[in-house]
């Protein structure tokens, strides 16, 4: 029983890291533009397909596939922002939300048209290995995912908190006009934000493609939702929060399965999410929107 629990813990951590990985870029864009970027999931999907196509065509190695997918989604993200979001910057957040939904419908049906609706497997880009530690196992995929998520979180957090560009990003998120008056090139900062965020989505797409061995035109929806949930649970815009949120949701799902409630697995995760929010209404790491009156 005990090793079972340890094993489930590893399972939960690995799954949670995937969610965290998807949520990192999401929370960043989300925190800075203040919009629910619904197309994020589709960018993730696009990245996964880009990685797949690269991996299939040229017998390239993991790194090339990863890098290529990242670059492609970076461009995609910036283009989407310019076309579909920028004109809506001054209008209601919800207008941008609907525009994002339009983009996401477009992208997924585009992919159905181009690549067909069925799920595709992923070629092995590197050999999976299994390590037995005591009574439980951990695969090299899991180690990579957990490691990459952790490193990216750290890097991104440092970047946003301490770099000049990062500070400009936060300024844009809090008061765009004032940011302009400080000499921030808001368009550029937003493009950078989208580029980084979307690139992360693309990389996450490839990694989760490798990990789950499945790529599908509609995979973005669920991924986007999980990322949204993780980002909010962790506190909107908080990068360590996204990591914690992702891990918590992953662990909650596996916990649901472990206690024989697998048919309620998603409900389980969302119940925990709602409960946490009731006690911490702005997420685990979220700063209370403490605007003084």
């Amino acid at each position: 029983m005990f090793n079972n629990i340890m094993q489930q813990l590893v399972n939960g951590l690995a799954l949670g890291s995937i969610y965290a990985l998807i949520a990192l870029g999401y929370t960043m864009v989300y925190g800075i533009i203040g919009m629910i970027n619904f197309a994020y999931g589709e960018i993730f999907m696009f990245g996964a397909y880009a990685g797949l196509v690269l991996a299939l065509t040229n017998y390239v190695n993991v790194y090339v596939a990863l890098l290529g997918a990242t670059l492609i989604t970076m461009v995609l993200g910036v283009v989407i922002e310019r076309v579909a979001y920028k004109p809506l910057r001054r209008s209601s957040r919800l207008s941008a939300l609907i525009s994002a939904i339009g983009v996401s419908i477009f992208l997924s049906s585009f992919m159905v048209k181009v690549k067909g609706p069925n799920t595709r497997g992923f070629p092995k880009l590197f050999e999976n290995r299994i390590f037995e530690i005591g009574n439980f196992q951990i695969t090299i995929y899991q180690i990579v995912i957990i490691g990459v998520a952790g490193l990216l979180m750290l890097g991104l957090h440092l970047f946003v908190t301490y770099s000049k560009t990062g500070r400009a990003m936060r300024a844009c998120s809090q008061d765009q006009d004032a940011a302009k008056l400080m000499g921030v090139n808001v368009d550029r900062v937003i493009s950078i934000t989208f580029a980084i965020g979307s690139g992360l989505a693309g990389a996450a797409g490839v990694l989760s493609g490798i990990y789950f061995n499945a790529v599908q035109p509609y995979m973005g929806l669920l991924a986007g939702l999980k990322a949204f949930a993780a980002a909010v649970l962790g506190g909107i815009g908080s990068i360590p929060g996204a990591m914690i949120g992702g891990l918590m949701i992953g662990l909650a799902e596996i916990l649901g399965i472990t206690v024989n409630l697998s048919e309620y697995k998603d409900a389980f995760a969302f119940t925990i999410l709602i409960l946490v929010l009731l006690f911490k209404p702005s997420g685990i790491m979220g700063r209370k929107a403490n605007k003084k009156v």
Partner: protein, 373 residues
């Protein structure tokens, strides 16, 4: 309600007219279950091409295809459109049981024949005299499969996995689990997943603990493949057994080695074909650049051919007339097997094909003949 007027009787174009006979296609071309719809459509197009060589009652057959994206409200709109606007005489129904039920009841009230080339669940033909299907029923095939697995293979310790948000899987699991008990096996653990899940590590960890002889999974092939990948990864040796939901080349494309040896049943196999089937397979390969037809393509083809035959036999393209000739079909030699309709209009298809994944392909394991009562 106050708005319930008797449905206006459709006035199909006069029998002697040379206008094409219109057949509607209802199914998903986009959305999650698009793959089933698209393959059905391929089979249909084969049939159309063939029928139009000679025509039916001297008329051409024309297909009106619409995409319901797997959504019920769209399916309703389409069914209405096909009947009232396109004036089709028959609809080749959606491959899934759920939508067939909804579309079936509309078609039935509007007196248009609907025949599903994929629905295997319950409560379909009961809707009324215009509703048909040409599929291998789960209630027949699943017990036959379990009998083989438990009695011939002697795999008694079963782990059962159900996709909880998939109606097909939920009903099929019930049939499987009854059949397991009836044949002397035991459901050692029952686990649940959901369609579109990609992580099964939690369930597999639990399943490993009971060390099953076989994993029975009642859902679709994508999840099936991913489950088996995970199972092999943690060292489970048992093979997977499932229903026609596992039919799809993607099972092997995604699952690779992990699904080797998996067993499933289907109303069709391209192996050991009858001459009729062989002809179909060759034509299909020629048309769709060497792709092998699958269950849905074959059943779609048969569905349209059945309708065409009924129209010919009735010498009328009026649904009211040819539905009875259709219902009277016995021992029709289809490409997907021999099809007979019982008095209840429920089809009996023989044989049940048990297929095993071998070398990355579905290979015929056994043909289990079914007696018509």
């Amino acid at each position: 309600g106050c708005g319930n007027k008797p449905a206006p009787t459709t006035t199909p174009s006069a029998t002697d007219s040379k206008e094409p006979i219109k057949i509607g296609f209802l199914g998903a071309k986009t959305g999650d279950v698009a793959i089933y719809g698209l393959n059905t459509l391929k089979g249909l197009n084969m049939a159309i091409a063939e029928l139009n060589k000679d025509g039916v009652l001297g008329r051409q057959v024309q297909l009106v295809e619409e995409d319901n994206a797997g959504q019920k409200d769209q399916a309703i709109n389409i069914t209405n459109k096909l009947i009232s606007q396109d004036k089709v005489v028959a609809i080749i129904g959606d491959p899934t049981t759920g939508i067939t039920r909804v579309a079936g009841s509309i078609a039935n009230t509007k007196k248009t024949v609907i025949i599903s080339a994929g629905a295997t669940g319950t409560n379909v033909v009961e809707i009324g005299p215009y509703v048909f299907r040409d599929t291998l029923l789960d209630t027949i095939a699943a017990p036959a499969t379990m009998k083989y697995v438990i009695q011939e293979k002697n795999w008694k310790n079963v782990a059962l996995i159900t996709s909880k948000n998939n109606d097909y899987s939920v009903s099929l699991s019930k049939i499987f689990s009854d059949a397991i008990v009836a044949n002397g096996g035991k459901v050692a653990i029952e686990e649940f997943i959901q369609d579109k899940d990609t992580d099964f590590s939690g369930q597999i960890t639990k399943i490993k603990a009971v060390n099953p002889d076989v994993i029975v999974f009642s859902g679709y092939y994508t999840e099936g493949a991913l489950i088996m990948k995970k199972a092999r990864e943690v060292g489970i040796k048992a093979v997977m057994v499932g229903g026609d939901g596992l039919q799809g080349d993607d099972l092997m494309k995604i699952g690779g080695d992990a699904v080797e040896g998996s067993i499933s049943y289907a109303g069709f196999s391209p192996e050991q074909p009858t001459p009729n089937t062989e002809k179909f397979i060759n034509a299909y390969k020629a048309k769709y650049n060497n792709e092998l037809p699958d269950l849905f393509a074959a059943q779609g083809y048969d569905a349209l051919m059945l309708v065409a035959k009924a129209i010919k036999d009735a010498t009328s393209a009026e649904p009211e007339k040819f539905k009875d000739t259709l219902a009277a079909t016995k021992n029709y030699d289809g490409v997907s097997g021999t099809i007979s309709f019982q008095a209840s209009r429920e089809p009996i298809k023989t044989p049940v094909y048990l297929l095993e994944v071998k070398g990355g392909k579905f290979a015929l394991l056994k043909k289990v003949p079914i007696e018509m009562k």
